[in-house]
């Protein structure tokens, strides 16, 4: 399910079946390193959209959690944990973060949800078919990781 009126209506009707939230974690910057941040973010968007398509009946894909790269990681962690607690209070059992920002991996223990981190893939020089294949592969990986969390 996505953050749209149509899907939220369905969510309200079928609440008992939807117990998982996916939040893409996306760093922002316009100074040096912007390109790397964007390409990582783009990859995460593609990945989460694809996973949403395949598992839309059980998970809710939220708009990305965005933060400027200059924001200290401790602040981000606090903010993200606030989101997570809020979501858990409204009945979500699983909160999954998907990111390609490496710094989350280092503080994984402090997070209230489950982190799935992926290395960013430099997409700009790839042709369409190869790109799709990579997204497909990573999606399958993520899908299996999600399913193993559920059982």
């Amino acid at each position: 399910m996505k953050w749209t009126v149509y899907d939220v209506e369905m969510y309200e009707k079928e609440k008992q079946y939807i117990d998982t939230v996916v939040i893409p974690l996306m760093p922002l910057t316009l100074s040096s390193g912007a390109k790397a941040a964007v390409s990582g973010g783009e990859f995460v968007q593609l990945l989460t959209n694809e996973i949403e398509r395949q598992l839309k009946g059980r998970l809710f894909l939220l708009p990305p959690f965005t933060y400027f790269v200059t924001e200290p990681i401790s602040e981000c962690t606090k903010r993200l944990n606030d989101w997570t607690n809020e979501l858990k209070e409204s009945g979500m059992d699983h909160v999954f973060y998907v990111t390609s920002d490496r710094q989350w991996k280092e503080i994984e223990q402090q997070l209230s949800g489950t982190l799935f981190s992926f290395p960013a893939v430099p997409f700009e020089h790839m042709d369409e078919a190869y790109k799709r294949q990579i997204v497909q592969e990573q999606t399958t990986k993520l899908l299996n990781a999600f399913i193993s969390q559920w059982t």
Binding site: Y17, I18, R53, G57, W150
Partner: protein
């Protein structure tokens, strides 16, 4: 006088030219009106085009997954939507193309996805199951059988159209 027979008189000439030009102008006005009147008939129904998906000789009795793309128009935004289908041939050699969208809440089902229940379609979200022909197994969440794609075979290629609830294909 015999000469006059082949001559066009001033009156005749004016008659011809005025009818010609007048007719042209009338046609110019009428044509769009006729087109407007016929427009709903000429317009092809959106989304009915068939998309080539696979070679018929690649199909087996075991369901295989094929991915394809269809053009969709969402308000002013036109895009390509990725779709997939589970395709196999039944005992009679007939092609069955099932939509992988679970009729429960729309997840993507997999063939043989659950080790405990082989030869069934399995939905990982809420453990819905379907038999090979797409019938939902009672006691699992799905309320209806998997939808089937309309299909046609041309030049050894399989074309798929819209997925429709069973009974309508």
């Amino acid at each position: 006088m015999s000469e006059n027979k082949h001559r066009v008189s001033r009156r005749q000439f004016l008659n011809y030219t005025l009818t010609g030009v007048g007719g042209f102008m009338a046609a110019g006005i009428l044509m769009p009106m006729v087109r407007f009147a016929l427009d709903p008939i000429l317009k092809e129904e959106a989304g009915t085009e068939m998309v080539p998906v696979a070679q018929v000789k690649d199909l087996t009795t075991e369901p295989q997954r094929f991915d394809f793309k269809v053009k969709v128009k969402d308000a002013w935004y036109e895009s390509e939507e990725p779709k997939s289908a589970w395709v196999y041939k039944d005992e009679k050699g007939e092609v069955i193309a099932l939509s992988p969208i679970c009729t429960h809440l729309g997840c993507t089902v997999n063939w043989n996805g659950d080790k405990a229940h082989p030869n069934q379609f399995f939905c990982p979200c809420h453990f819905g199951r379907y038999t090979k022909d797409g019938t939902n197994i009672p006691g699992t969440p799905p309320p209806a059988p998997l939808h089937r794609y309309e299909y046609k075979v041309k030049d050894g290629k399989l074309y798929l159209g819209k997925a429709k609830p069973r009974g309508e294909v």
